[in-house]
């Protein structure tokens, strides 16, 4: 059953220099209990996609398209009904656990708050549930009292609190926006394991946003590759990794440290993608990646290439996709 269906999502930011299209025609679907990864470099629109789903875009953003979640178009809902869905059916884990928690409230209060707000639980009942949730994410009593404040916990522990908060009302979809970027390597692995475990146990759909291909590989069944506000490649995670049809996906892979160990002999430098992401206000008419693409040809320049299916589980928005046997550059 389709839980989330995003159709032609466009987000435009009004800037002093005119409108800047941040997201263009982003479409994807996510079934209940499934996992989807969104990968791309900084500024490609991953986090904006997450904020658009949550309805928490900055005030100067204009949204078009459709976000259907559990049968309702979130973009057409009034704010009061959105508040009713946020945190209850749709929850989010943020990138920066150091700042995502309120420094002057106890962790118990912050985990219990959603329960009291949405489910109308009494203070005592909500706090008892909060203690259980904290234990569930690996912060058991008595060492981790609900009366602790965020500053008394490490980054990894705080991210566990954020996850407990997100899980509190048993949502159907969890959006994790770079949940491990701010953490050290050991905490990263532990937090990803925790996310995988809790989403599987609760039958929760997971939308995992990251710039780290290894994270997508290990934690998602399907993935999207985004570049400059567009989806450039999509498919089942193994299929995308096997072929890497879009030149950008290949470049991203060649530039990621995880790939270094597997693909390059010791001592080789990491690859870089030449050039820069085009400014959202001055994007080219043709393929957004054309300016940096090693395979660019004349027909890439007039119009943005439409997405086409390579096979049932794999699509790419490129006129000259790479072939599997070409190998990683």
């Amino acid at each position: 059953m389709t839980l989330l269906s995003v159709t032609d999502l466009c987000v435009t930011l009004d800037t002093p220099d005119g409108p800047a299209p941040i997201l263009q025609d982003v479409s994807f679907e996510l079934a209940a209990g499934q996992s989807l990864g969104i990968v791309g470099e900084s500024g490609c629109g991953k986090s904006m996609t997450a904020l658009a789903l949550m309805g928490l875009l900055p005030a100067q953003a204009r949204v078009a398209g459709e976000i259907e979640f559990e049968g309702e178009n979130l973009l057409a809902l009034p704010e009061a009904q959105l508040c009713n869905i946020r945190g209850r059916r749709l929850a989010m884990v943020f990138q920066e656990p150091m700042t995502a928690l309120n420094p002057v409230k106890t962790i118990g209060f912050q985990v219990a708050e959603g329960l009291r707000w949405h489910l109308g639980l009494s203070r005592g009942a909500a706090e008892a549930r909060a203690v259980k949730l904290l234990a569930r994410v690996g912060l058991p009593q008595p060492r981790f009292s609900p009366d602790l404040y965020p500053h008394q916990l490490s980054g990894g522990q705080r991210q566990r609190v954020v996850i407990a908060m997100a899980l509190a009302c048993e949502p159907a979809l969890l959006i994790a926006d770079e949940p491990t970027t701010a953490l050290d390597v050991t905490s990263q692995a532990a937090i990803l394991d925790l996310l995988a475990e809790v989403t599987e146990a609760a039958g929760l759909a997971l939308l995992l946003i990251t710039h780290d291909l290894a994270v997508v590989w290990q934690n998602t069944a399907r993935m999207l590759v985004m570049y400059a506000g567009r989806v450039v490649e999509r498919g089942a995670t193994p299929a995308v990794f096997e072929r890497m049809a879009h030149p950008y996906t290949r470049g991203l892979f060649a530039a990621s440290p995880g790939a270094l160990e597997a693909a390059l002999p010791a001592g080789r430098r990491l690859a870089t993608i030449p050039g820069q992401v085009p400014d959202p206000r001055h994007r080219p008419a043709g393929c957004v990646f054309a300016g940096r693409c090693p395979r660019v040809q004349d027909d890439c320049l007039p119009a943005q290439p439409a997405e086409r299916a390579l096979d049932a589980a794999h699509g790419v928005a490129c006129l000259h996709p790479c072939l599997e046997e070409e190998g990683v550059p």
């Binding site: 949550m54 009061a80 995502a100 002057v104 707000w117 404040y149």
Partner: protein, 318 residues
């Protein structure tokens, strides 16, 4: 928390001692011999010497400082030259007016400033914000003595709703006494509220951009719930700081306002004591006001710890 309290208390005592030393030294270097002032310029030298001895003015300065401190600690503030009664008696009587006046003014200014500041922040760039900012601009620009006179003219003379000046005294009952304090308190509070509202607005605006406010919204809290439950308390630290600083301005303000409204308060007593060269009263009152400021700063430090748990110190689980 205990360690925090101990540190703050030690700082409090040290500051008070330093303040007393400064007050004493300043009074020492001021020209004018209190005994000569009391007796007038035609006094005979032997009468003057006798009075100086009686007042302890012939003792070395260090000894007089210690005696004065001992007196302060034991509640014996000495005797006023001009009134002939103990300074403590004078102060106690005036405190019955000045303390309630200051408290009403602080409560009024806080009750006005914080909601206005939060409102302006929540409605940034809209009509309510512009209204609050305009009001605060006026409040800052208008001097409080002029505003006091305006209040007297409007409420005391034109509409005759409230007394134009003087103090009914608490013997007359709570309401008549309070009635005489309303206008002075408003005159004191308004300029302070204007500054405080601006500080509140900018502090709340800054806090609204914090990640944890977004987290609260992601939990499903409405904009206003996220504002009041998560942003406001975090925004209070600079507000409390300014309130502490404003307290000394409030004390200075009472000297002017009590004169405008003919209120027999501490501010007026300071004014009169200086005019009459009643140095012992001046010395004690300046010390008292300094102590009040130091104690208020101590309370501000405590308020920080109440607002922000990170300032309390304590266990860490990292």
């Amino acid at each position: 928390m205990a360690l925090f309290l101990l540190q703050r208390l030690t700082a409090l005592v040290v500051t008070l001692l330093v303040a007393s030393l400064v007050v004493f030294l300043v009074m020492e270097v001021l020209p004018g011999d209190p005994a000569a002032v009391m007796l007038g310029i035609n006094a005979r030298p032997d009468t003057l010497a006798a009075l100086r001895q009686q007042m302890g003015l012939d003792l070395p300065a260090a000894q007089r400082y210690v005696l004065w401190l001992g007196g302060l600690a034991s509640g014996d503030l000495g005797t006023s030259y001009t009134y002939g009664v103990s300074v403590w008696e004078l102060v106690r009587e005036r405190l019955g007016l000045s303390l309630p006046l200051a408290l009403i003014a602080i409560c009024l200014s806080t009750a006005l400033a914080i909601p206005l500041g939060v409102l302006a922040a929540a409605r940034r760039g809209r009509a309510a914000d512009a209204g609050v900012m305009g009001f605060t601009q006026l409040g800052i620009a208008i001097p409080n003595f002029w505003f006091a006179i305006l209040l007297i003219l409007l409420f005391g003379v034109h509409w005759q709703i409230l007394p134009a000046g003087g103090f009914a005294g608490w013997e007359a009952g709570a309401w008549p006494a309070l009635k005489t304090l309303i206008l002075p308190a408003v005159a004191l509070a308004l300029p302070q509220a204007a500054i405080l509202a601006r500080v509140t607005r900018s502090s709340v605006l800054e806090t609204l951009g914090e990640d944890f406010v977004r987290t609260a919204r992601a939990k499903g809290l409405t904009r206003s719930a996220a504002l009041w439950r998560h942003a406001v308390r975090n925004a209070l630290i600079p507000v409390v700081t300014i309130m502490g600083l404003q307290f000394s301005f409030l004390l200075a303000g009472t000297i002017i306002i009590e004169n405008v409204f003919y209120l027999p308060g501490l501010g007026r007593l300071v004014f009169q004591a200086i005019a009459q060269h009643d140095l012992i009263v001046v010395k004690d009152l300046v010390m008292l006001l300094a102590a009040a400021v130091v104690v208020v700063n101590f309370l501000v430090d405590l308020a920080y710890a109440v607002i922000d748990p990170r300032l309390r110190g304590g266990r860490s689980y990292e």
